[in-house]
Symmetry: C2
Subunit: 446 residues, 2 copies
């Protein structure tokens, strides 16, 4: 291909500092990276001085020059000059390279992954990913496909089902890990949907997104994708996680359990937080290091795949506010809703004028669950009369579950059973790490 040709002509070897002058007049300088994964493409990968690799599209008219050889750089480095040594080395092809499938569902990470044109592109091919974030190809053999291309605010239970199917297919086809690129808005909902649907799981499923699009210098797309690839390829656990920036810099990402994570900020890179628990792991992508913070629920390779797909769409999440009228509950019952997750106040309360409507809902076979709008902590409906009345009316307390997770869980349960007693029994069970019996004091950020 043209890339190899240009490099040969210039006498450039991996580790050399090279200058690329393209026919469009743009000039790039950086360290030439090894590129087994890209060998047939018209792309040259260099590590820029900001530490990032970039895949540069080249053609016949591109000029490549060696600025400084690897030998000179290493000699200078030994003599004390600051060295530009690639942070992430490629796994050589002779080692067994993990096979990762990246599924694109849309959102910022999928639609703007192109460095150069700035165009918003719906496509999401392996080539395009490797071109934008070559590190991904250094870690694993990548295959990629577009499952859908939507902003995640347009996600819904029917589409969760499609993602479950596609992930299952990738695992059945032998993937050592699956990455789901997803918009950040509702990523936590979809991730927890998968956590319930995959009853048994042999490999990790890593959700990843970007808070800033990759045409912006502050984009977190590349960093997050590299971290997610490392999790998919190497993590010792087989759980559904959300992998996103752990702080505002580029030092580490966090792998959050799908049933514990929440988007807590509209715009920060470190918007995702584990609530009522600890993140599962810290990821230092450039060091290829995964540091476990919490005990994994399932180890990689310990189980065969087992999937229970299907979500009930007639479930509502209803946040309580002072004065909320009972007609809102009545309406949902009239419209055939099968489940209602209340996001109550404090230990799990709503205005007592709602109790009658709730009782009628339960009598009509609707499963009604109580969570708290405080997000942190655990509901306890035995402390105040309000809680006791709600329990008597048949409301199921959701323990320390997030409201959003209780919503997804109920949607999953009501697709499994039409018996309210069975729904209650399943709801009380810890199915995917969404219920924790004890919290330590440090689990509350201030």
């Amino acid at each position: 291909g043209v890339a190899l040709e240009l490099l040969k002509r210039a006498g450039a070897k991996p580790g050399d500092r090279i200058r690329i002058t393209r026919s469009d007049g743009r000039v790039f300088e950086g360290i030439l990276m090894p590129r087994y994964a890209l060998s047939a493409k018209p792309i040259i990968v260099v590590k820029l001085d900001n530490g990032y690799n970039v895949g540069l599209r080249v053609d016949e008219k591109t000029v490549v020059e060696v600025v400084k050889t690897r030998e000179t750089i290493l000699k200078e480095a030994a003599a004390g000059a600051p060295a530009a040594i690639p942070l992430l080395e490629e796994t050589p092809p002779e080692e067994r390279r993990p096979r990762i499938t990246i599924l694109g569902t849309g959102g910022t990470i999928a639609s703007k992954v192109e460095y150069e044109t700035g165009a918003v592109r719906p496509a999401f091919s392996a080539e395009e990913i490797l071109e934008a974030v070559p590190e991904v190809g250094f870690i694993a053999d990548i295959s990629a496909r577009v499952v859908m291309n939507i902003l995640s605010e347009n996600m819904r239970p029917r589409l969760w089902e499609k993602i479950v199917d596609e992930v299952a297919k990738a695992i059945e086809e032998g993937a050592d890990g699956v990455i789901v690129a997803h918009g950040t808005d509702t990523m936590a909902y979809t991730a927890s949907a998968l956590a319930f649907a995959f009853r048994k799981l042999p490999v990790p499923i890593a959700f990843v997104g970007a808070q800033r699009s990759s045409d912006r210098p502050s984009s977190d797309a590349a960093f997050n994708l590299i971290a997610a690839t490392l999790v998919a390829a190497k993590a010792p656990f087989a759980e559904v996680v959300v992998v996103m920036h752990g702080e505002t810099g580029d030092t580490y990402a966090l792998a959050h359990r799908a049933t514990r994570v929440r988007k807590m900020h509209t715009s920060r890179r470190d918007a995702f937080q584990t609530i009522n628990g600890r993140p599962l792991a810290k990821i230092y992508p450039f060091e290829r290091r995964i540091e476990l913070i919490d005990e994994p629920l399932r180890s990689r390779g310990a189980e065969e795949l087992e999937v229970a797909n299907g979500f009930e769409e007639k479930v509502a999440l209803v946040k309580y506010y002072p004065g909320m009228e009972p007609e809102i509950i009545d309406f949902l019952v009239d419209r055939g809703y099968r489940g209602i997750v209340l996001e109550g106040t404090g230990l799990g309360h709503v205005g007592e004028w709602l109790v009658e409507s709730i009782r009628r809902a339960v009598e009509a076979g609707v499963t009604v669950v109580m969570t708290s709008q405080t997000l942190f902590g655990r509901v306890n409906m035995n402390v105040y009369t309000t809680g006791r009345k709600l329990l008597q009316a048949g409301v199921i307390p959701a323990e320390d579950m997030l409201p959003e997770v209780a919503f997804v869980k109920l949607s999953w349960i009501l697709a499994r059973t039409s018996d309210p007693g069975e729904a209650r029994r399943l709801f009380a069970m810890n199915l995917a790490g969404e219920i924790t019996s004890r919290h330590t004091v440090d689990l509350y950020p201030r």
Copy 2:
């Protein structure tokens, strides 16, 4: 009275360590406190060794003995023995004592303030408060009245109005500060209602509650009430604040701005947090110290009172979730709702299938506002197509307002005007510190 008689008989003076053996057989030991505020009551106030004062009801058969005189204690302390010196001295009656009105509305703090019987009592007289938490009387002259006695999950806009009236009356009657004792569940909603209703304010209004009832050793009732009294009596600002524990120990409380505060934990003492801002002040009650953290919006005494009371009850807070159906919006419009606050995802989004219903709502004269379920950060509806479509449909972005505060604000605005254009204009204005133009990086706890 009997109390003075008993003390005289024992020769006990303030500062002495005394032992009180009551006719019910219970024995208490501690430092005798001065008690100007209680002189006519059958109550003796002692500081227990745990640092708290307690007002003990006594009768003719009570035995009082001096264990150690103040002089001996001070001598021993000078010689290095650990001294039990009262932390909070009483403001002597010759100084001008601030006049504080405490209004009881219910909740844990009001209903279980009794140390001794353990009974849940609806009453909330000045005597009962002073008996349970004598420090309150050391700081100020207290008058107290019960405005209502409800668990705060049963609070609603009509009752906010009643509280506004009662607080206004107390200020008109000359109070130097007002304390509203309130259940914690919806305290933040009510406090922000007052922040909007009091257009001008000469004195502080401090909301206070308890996460643990005062019959439990871990109760935060006394500490919070002392801190709130200090704020009401001494704070240099004239704002509506929520005064609650700042950490799990008994070192300081925080005064949070009413329009920025949220209950973030079901059960911790430090459950209240300022979101997208800094607390207004740190309160060290035992040192009588108020440390300003943020710039006050209004100083004490700078303005005459001006009240705009009244809240529209036909306003709904609607949290979005994946798959939410448009019929929920349609229903609210059909039922005559005048305002809808959406709690969307990320930068302010909902599924695009809702846009048509929202547009129809706006065309029907309903004011529709967008907030984010991330809680932290600011909505920005210009970034993604979804946001732009919603703006075109007439949705008003709520900047960095909390969903709950946007709900209260809209309820207040729609009671002022029936013109949607005017409602939009008012909503965009920063009326009570609920909109901040810039956030510093440190405003996001991890």
